[in-house]
Point group: C2
Chain length 222, copies 2
């Protein structure tokens, strides 16, 4: 399969470009053998809170959501004293190793690259700065400008408000099922980066293509 006529590639940030479980060494040190369950609960609550608050019309930014989800997780694990270190680690999430090659490929092909993220622009800009990736993306678009979280169609519309073309000519990349479903619902072409070989959620919308890593995209993007 080949993907043709793509004028813009849009990346989700957390889970797609940056590994939300990448602070494992810190977690192993402070949480111990249950560090994976801890990390999963933190992530689960972060997403739940973004959805529930959107439905309640009670938006707060993703830093506050991340903070609240961490507070909950620390309470469950009775580890309240290490909060500052763990929250700070979210500023240094590692980019996936397959990201750089794809960025260079898209640069060569002169296909612009956007990020569309639940995170605040500041969170993402700082992450990119920490890894000297400031010039990898042409624009950072954040839900913070409209105060509604993914997968609302209003979020994906931020992209076409900033880049005038049909959604069909935009390729959206995400590792998150609910994000792919939302992007497909809006009309983007979608590639699901299924790094962990999980099952796709039953939300009525499915990716155009499923890949195990960003590496596989170079071969089919023509």
């Amino acid at each position: 399969m080949k993907i043709k006529n793509i004028k813009l590639v849009v990346f989700d940030a957390y889970g797609t470009c940056f590994d939300v479980h990448s602070t494992s060494s810190l977690l192993k040190k402070y949480i111990g053998k249950n560090w994976k369950n801890f990390s999963n609960l933190w992530r689960t609550k972060q997403l739940e809170y973004s959805w529930i608050r959107t439905i309640m019309n009670q938006y707060v930014d993703f830093w506050k959501i991340t903070n609240d989800a961490l507070d909950y997780t620390l309470e469950v694990y009775k580890k309240n004293k290490i909060k500052k270190k763990l929250l700070n680690s979210y500023k240094f999430l590692k980019p996936y190793s397959d990201l750089e090659l794809l960025i260079n490929f898209l640069k060569k092909k002169k296909i612009p690259r956007y990020i569309l993220t639940n995170g605040s622009s500041l969170m993402i800009k700082n992450l990119l700065k920490n890894y000297k990736m400031n010039k990898d993306f042409n624009k950072i678009l954040s839900v913070d400008s409209i105060k509604i979280y993914k997968p609302s169609p209003k979020v994906y519309k931020i992209v076409t408000n900033n880049f005038k073309c049909s959604p069909k000519n935009i390729l959206f990349l995400s590792s998150n099922c609910w994000d792919i479903a939302g992007a497909k619902n809006f009309g983007f072409r979608t590639a699901w980066i299924n790094r962990k070989k999980i099952k796709f959620d039953k939300l009525g919308f499915y990716p155009d293509i499923e890949l195990q890593s960003l590496n596989n995209l170079r071969k089919i993007l023509t």
Copy 2:
């Protein structure tokens, strides 16, 4: 603490009146020792799908949501052949043992009782019929009439559209944190039935009172 001036008591259905994990004997038989994890994943996906679809403006009713969440869970556990039996079990979820005494108490005090549920009216009416509880509630109100799931403020407004009084004179009962947060956000007084002694979610809204079971409510409702 006493709760005064209550003119209507509104019950959440799933998790509050009916135990969503009550099909344990069936699950033990077909899933084996992991039945609790299976049941939790089914419930987690059911809730996630209700929230994600609400945000995507892609409502389907709760029977379809329950079906989709079960499909996902069965795929993960590679147990696709037992679907019909498990889905059917959702029609026979058991009422909690503490429900009947509270209903009788409220009947005596002539306080009307409503159900406000994510489920379709048919799902709840059939459940009540199966347990001969048809006369326990004065009205069954379902999100299906507006096609948006809890915890949207529009859902809680169905109650005051049907029973004219200030939200402050309505007591809302739920075991689900996100439901209590949504009800409180709307303006109801709220009692969180924390049967499993879990931590309350960090959503910016908290219950007026926390109880371990519905039994404790009789003492404080004056």
